[in-house]
Symmetry: C2
Subunit: 220 residues, 2 copies
C-alpha cells in the first residue's frame, strides 16, 4: 500500500496528480503549513526527513518529487503510458523537462518569493532600502531567468500538446507546480503555457487530486 | 562527435567529469564567466539557451546537467557501469540523489551566495541592515536546509562508498559540485562527505576533467 505525506499548497501536488493518473490505491496523509509557510512539526515527526512529498511503498521511503515520479513510473506505469521509449528523441526532451522543473524553473521563483516576503515585512522607510536590494537581485537574476524559462516553455508548447510531445509524460507532472506559479505572477504574456496549464487543470485526475488534497494557491 | 559548451567554475564540471569517466571523444568549448559571475555573450551566441553545460551530439542539443548525464548514461554507458539496474533498491537511491542535487542541495547554497554578495557590496552602515535581512533568511531557510541536507548525505555516505551504494553512478556525478560547495563553506563538520569528495577528486577521470576545464573554485 502506498502512503503519501502531503503538505498543502506545495509542489507535492505533482505526485498526488500522478497517483490519480495512474489509478493506483494510496493513503493520503495531509499536513498543513505553519503560519510562516514552513512544514509543521507533525510532518517532521512523520518521516525522517521532514520532507513533502514523501512516499512510502513497502520498503521504499522516498522524498523529492522528481525521484518519486520516476519511481512510480518505473514500478506502476507498466505500459509506459506516461513515458516515451528510452533513447527516443521525445524521451530526451522528457528527461530535459523533468530536470528543468527544479533546476531552472523553481530557483528564480523561490528567490522572487523570498524578496517579496522581505519587502512585505520591512517597515517604512526601511522598505525603500530593501526594495532597492530586491530590485537588484530581481533585475540581475530573477527577471532574466524567468524570461529565459518562459521562452523555452513557450517554444516547446507551441510545437506540441504536452511538454515533450503529443503524449502526457512525467515531465508534465513535474512541471505543473512551477508553471502555475509562473502564470500566477501574471507578469509575462505566456499564451502556450496558459493553454497547457488549462489542459492540466481540466484533467479528471488533476481535479480528483485537488479535491482530495485541497486547492493549491500560488505564493507570489 | 560530442561537443560540450563549458562555463568555467560552474556545475558543468559534472558533465565534463562524466565524459572523462565514459572515455568517449568530445570537443570542449570553454567560456569564461563575466566579472559579475554571469555567462558571457559568447555563450549566449553559441547555443540558443545561453546555458552551460550544453551538449551537442548530432541532432541532440541538450541543457541541464541532470538531463545531459541521464542522456549520456543511456546512450554511451552500454554496460551500465554508472547506473544500477532499473527498479532495484540501489537504483531508487540513485534516482533520489540525482534529483536531490538540484532540488534540495543547490537552493540554500545559491540563496546564501546571493545574500553574501549583497553583504559584500553594501556600504557601511547600510551593511548593518542588509546583514540583518540576510541573517533572517539564513536562520529561517539557509541554515536549516543545509543542516537537513548534511544529515542525509552523512548518513548515506556512512553506509557505503558511493552515494547510492558500492558503485559509482550518475548520482555521484550530479552531486559533486554542490557537495564541494557545501564543504567549501566550512561551517559544518562533515567527515563522510569530506571522504567522498576526496574520492571524487582523486579519480583519474576527475583530474583529467580539471586539467582540461580548469580548476573549479567554489563561490562562498
Amino acid at each position: 500500500m502506498i502512503t503519501l505525506h502531503y503538505l498543502n499548497d506545495s509542489r507535492a501536488i505533482r505526485v498526488l496528480w500522478m497517483l490519480e493518473e495512474l489509478g493506483v490505491e494510496y493513503e493520503l496523509k495531509k499536513y498543513q503549513r505553519t503560519k510562516e509557510m514552513g512544514a509543521p512539526k507533525a510532518l517532521r515527526e512523520a518521516n525522517d526527513t521532514g520532507k513533502s512529498p514523501f512516499l512510502i511503498d513497502g520498503e521504499v521511503k522516498l522524498a523529492e518529487s522528481g525521484s518519486i515520479i520516476e519511481y512510480l513510473q518505473q514500478k506502476y506505469d507498466t505500459e509506459n503510458q506516461f513515458s516515451y521509449e528510452r533513447g527516443s528523441s521525445e524521451w530526451v526532451d522528457q528527461v530535459f523537462w523533468t530536470h528543468f522543473a527544479e533546476a531552472s524553473l523553481m530557483p528564480p521563483l523561490v528567490v522572487a518569493l523570498i524578496f517579496n516576503m522581505i519587502d512585505g515585512k520591512a517597515p517604512f522607510p526601511v522598505t525603500l532600502l530593501t526594495k532597492k536590494i530586491g530590485d537588484q537581485v530581481r533585475s540581475r537574476f530573477v527577471t532574466p531567468s524567468l524570461k529565459a524559462n518562459a521562452d523555452l516553455l513557450e517554444e516547446a508548447l507551441g510545437k506540441h500538446e504536452w511538454i515533450a510531445g503529443s503524449q502526457l509524460t512525467i515531465a508534465d507532472f513535474q512541471l505543473a507546480y512551477g508553471a502555475q506559479a509562473m502564470l500566477g505572477r501574471g507578469k509575462l504574456d505566456l499564451p502556450n503555457l496558459k493553454r497547457w496549464v488549462k489542459q492540466v487543470e481540466n484533467r479528471p485526475a488533476y481535479l480528483r487530486a485537488i479535491e482530495k488534497g485541497g486547492k493549491v494557491s500560488m505564493p507570489r
